[in-house]
């Protein structure tokens, strides 16, 4: 009797367990369906469905759904927060974009302060900026938005002793001191596209009297050079050299010939036309095909601290993909070469790691092109892949990346190694728990926890039959 009772109890427990399992599966499946993002709404993809390829229709697990949704939500939210924007003109010259957040207008302090010859000194520990000019100094509490410091218009006016501020028609005109007269562009003006090495630098190049004029700032930025606008004196410099410029619609333009006197362009080709984009597909990829192949990707800066990471990858014979921030590549060119020579993929993570929602379009082009060119200078290759910092992108950015010849690569699996308290065990668990066919795993370059977690991740993933590949093997 007792034995029968025990058998029955076990049978019933098994039945209950099966019921729970199937219930959970149905529930999960329903959630998965319900939470599937609607492409075109969540992350404002390009409108033309023929023009886009997004690897989001093959979710394998709950993490991938959450990952995609959270990126979509963050992007939609960023667009909303940046909806009320102002083009900011300092002494009649366009310098940057400001935003209305909760009824307060915020402006980027660096571009305006430096234009008026204030020294802008960032104090990272206290998230403050010190401004100094002659005997005057002040400390300014700033609002950080992805590496760019903003300050309220009121505080800015007060700290920099601005003479006058006028807000009208979505523009903010700041006047300070004697405003110098610029030579204005006159005659027949025709805006066209301008390319460097087949990468579109701008859609607003002009031909005036048979001379080609390029927005001076974008040209300088594309080469990673230091551009300065001196609003007090009314001129611009590139790497400290004054450049002749005229003003068209509030933007300083310089003749290509004059720019080439300062920047050596011998190794580059230029073209100029009115074609607009070249009609290639816009690419944004979250994961690879449904095969047992996965990619480890590493974002951000490189320096000597990356070497232990390379050693771990070498020891396990894994090819990684590095999305590198451009502005420190020159001083770490040996590390760049080391990464490349060890067989890893080199990719673009923009020049300054800003949230590119918030900067002018042409500046975004400069962020991508300068990183392409500095990699080309040191390795002789041009990256094919780009990852937006923080995962922030919109349809304009996708098209600009496309025009530069870059595929936008996101991730399907976030290792969470960027959290400051992330431990190797957390990273290992997070990755192994959510692995699936075609996973693109995001990690970061200079994290001890990541390096410690990798051997276990690689070993266990291989035991599950996965092969580690570079992203070039996942993305056609």
């Amino acid at each position: 009797m007792k034995r029968h009772r025990m058998i029955l109890i076990i049978v019933l427990i098994v039945l209950v367990g099966i019921g729970i399992y199937y219930g959970a599966r149905v529930h999960f499946k329903e959630k998965l369906e319900a939470d599937k993002p609607i492409v075109g709404e969540d992350i404002q993809e390009p409108q033309d469905p023929e023009e886009i390829r997004i690897g989001v229709d093959n979710y394998s697990n709950w993490h991938e759904v959450q990952n995609h949704n959270s990126i979509g939500e963050a992007n939609a939210y960023a667009e909303k927060r940046l909806e009320k924007s102002y083009n900011v003109y300092l002494n009649r010259v366009f310098v940057d974009i400001g935003y209305d957040w909760d009824g307060i207008v915020f402006l980027p302090i660096r571009s305006i302060g430096e234009g008026l010859n204030w020294r802008i000194i960032w104090i990272p520990d206290k998230q403050m900026i010190q401004v100094v000019k002659g005997d005057e100094e002040a400390f300014v509490d700033v609002v950080n938005f992805f590496g760019k410091a903003y300050v309220s218009l009121d505080i800015l006016a007060h700290v920099l002793n601005l003479d006058s501020i006028a807000i009208e028609d979505g523009k903010i005109h700041i006047s300070e001191g004697d405003i110098k007269e610029w030579q204005q562009g006159i005659g027949e003006i025709k805006g066209s596209s301008f390319y460097i090495d087949d990468m579109k630098m701008t859609d607003a190049a002009y031909k005036l009297d048979e001379d080609i004029y390029i927005p001076s700032k974008i040209f300088a930025m594309s080469f990673g050079r230091i551009y300065r606008y001196n609003a007090e004196e009314g001129f611009i410099t590139i790497d400290g050299n004054r450049v002749e410029a005229i003003l068209i619609d509030g933007i300083p333009y310089s003749q290509l010939a004059h720019l080439e006197e300062i920047i050596d362009t011998a190794d580059h080709s230029f073209s100029y036309d009115a074609m607009g984009n070249k009609g290639k597909k816009v690419e944004v990829v979250y994961k690879g095909p449904d095969k047992k192949r996965i990619a480890l990707t590493f974002d951000d800066y490189i320096d000597a601290e990356v070497l232990p990471l390379l050693d771990v990858l070498d020891a396990h014979d894994v090819k990684g993909s590095f999305f590198i921030i451009g502005n420190t590549i020159d001083v770490n060119k040996d590390i760049l070469e080391e990464i490349y020579n060890r067989g890893h993929i080199i990719a673009n993570h923009t020049w300054d790691h800003l949230n590119n929602h918030s900067i002018p379009e042409d500046e975004f082009r400069g962020q991508l092109i300068s990183t392409q060119l500095v990699i080309k200078k040191h390795l002789g290759i041009v990256p094919k892949y780009y990852r937006p910092p923080g995962g922030y992108y919109n349809s304009k950015m996708l098209k600009i990346a496309r025009d530069i010849g870059l595929k936008t690569v996101m991730w399907s699996l976030n290792s969470n190694d960027a959290s400051f308290d992330s431990k190797p065990a957390h990273i290992t668990e997070q990755v192994l728990k959510n692995l699936s066919n075609g996973s693109i795993i995001v990690m970061h370059t200079k994290r001890k926890s990541t390096i410690e977690a990798l051997p276990e991740i690689i070993k266990k993933a291989r035991q599950q039959g996965y092969e580690f590949v570079g992203i070039d093997a996942l993305i056609p």
Binding site: H4, I9, V16, I104, D141
Partner: protein, 371 residues
């Protein structure tokens, strides 16, 4: 049917006729385990339905006393919905005054808020208690540099003669000795003015532009001012020296434990002694910037803070019971409201909170502490 089958049928009958209590208990336990696993939500601060205790301090007066007649609340709107309230101050009698888009309102109770500013465009105000007369005067600054005084007993305004700039008055404060200070900082210029006759006459004592004034609660001649930098005077404002701190957000000194002087900046405070020598630095690890910091007047360990991340539009009111080391967000309807000012009731049982575009709120601190 063989014997084994018969036994099995018997067992099944027992189970489904609820004869086997042990088995039913087992099923119930499985069900309970499943339910407990499903309910992972931790109750938020505002969702705690425990009966909050009444304020242990029986000295709540006026508006706070009125609000604490009920104990079943934690965060409550006091009106002015869809309106920005810039500044709050409370009298010893517990009457709340609020600067609401250029007007000053007197709030006696939740239902009774009356504008008293008679059309004046007010940019700053401060309450000076007059103990001997059992009344208070309100010193208010106007948008064109005017200085007014309002007697709460006589309910009338007086305008003072001043040589302030034709620009908004930035800040007003007073010492326990009755000296009143007005600060101004504008593109036209600024300075610090002092009155020693309850705001009737004013004299300029410094050309430094001033956005913040704090008078030491126990040393009436020690005055801290902030504008682009922070300064200290030990002689009633006649001379100032620069304080070696980058914090220029505002200065706080606790009325009882006044040895430490807290210099606020966007993400923390630097602490100095009374003479401005830095003794410690505390950073708050929250996303965004401080919009207001206030110390509990009877417990130096309890701080309230407005914090806001402008790019994301998130933040609200935060509470610390351990001297600013750890912060908890006060949820409910105050979540994601931009806090502009905080005023404690006299017994610190209620905090009044001014917000951008969302009016005035009361927080039942007695209930909050019990959580």
């Amino acid at each position: 049917m063989n014997r084994r089958k018969k036994d099995m049928m018997k067992e099944l009958r027992k189970i489904f006729m609820f004869e086997n209590k042990k088995f039913i208990m087992l099923l119930l336990m499985i069900a309970a385990l499943m339910l407990s696993g499903c309910n992972q939500d931790t109750p938020a601060l505002e969702e705690n339905n425990e009966e909050p205790l009444q304020s242990v301090n029986s000295e709540a007066k006026g508006l706070a006393e009125d609000l604490l007649k009920r104990s079943d609340w934690q965060v409550e709107s006091l009106g002015f919905e869809d309106t920005t309230v810039n500044r709050l101050a409370i009298t010893a009698k517990g009457v709340l005054y609020a600067q609401v888009e250029g007007d000053i309102y007197e709030i006696q109770s939740k239902e009774q808020a009356v504008s008293i500013s008679e059309g004046k465009e007010i940019t700053a105000f401060h309450i000076v208690e007059l103990e001997e007369d059992n009344e208070a005067i309100i010193v208010a600054g106007g948008s064109n540099g005017e200085i007014y005084t309002y007697s709460t007993a006589e309910k009338s305004w007086q305008k003072a003669e001043t040589d302030t700039f034709e620009a908004p008055i930035s800040i007003i404060s007073s010492s326990t000795a009755g000296d009143i200070y007005v600060g101004q900082s504008s593109t036209l210029g600024g300075g610090l003015w002092k009155s020693q006759d309850r705001g009737k006459t004013w004299s300029k004592i410094s050309d430094l532009t001033v956005r913040g004034i704090t008078v030491h609660p126990k040393e009436a001649d020690v005055i801290y001012i902030v504008d682009k930098l922070a300064y200290l005077s030990t002689d009633g404002g006649n001379s100032f020296i620069k304080i070696n701190t980058v914090a220029n957000y505002g200065v706080l000194v606790h009325p009882i434990q006044s040895d430490a002087v807290y210099h606020a900046f966007s993400i923390g405070v630097e602490t100095t002694d009374i003479e401005g020598n830095i003794s410690s630095y505390l950073r708050f690890y929250l996303e965004g910037s401080m919009t207001k910091l206030q110390l509990n007047p009877i417990d130096v360990n309890e701080w309230l803070m407005g914090f806001w991340d402008f790019p994301s539009g998130r933040g609200g009111l935060y509470y610390s019971g351990n001297h600013g080391t750890l912060w908890s967000q006060i949820g409910g309807d105050l979540k994601d409201k931009l806090v502009l000012d905080i005023a404690y009731s006299n017994d610190a049982s209620v905090a009044f909170v001014a917000t951008r575009d969302n009016g005035i709120w009361a927080v039942n601190l007695s209930a909050l502490r019990n959580n």
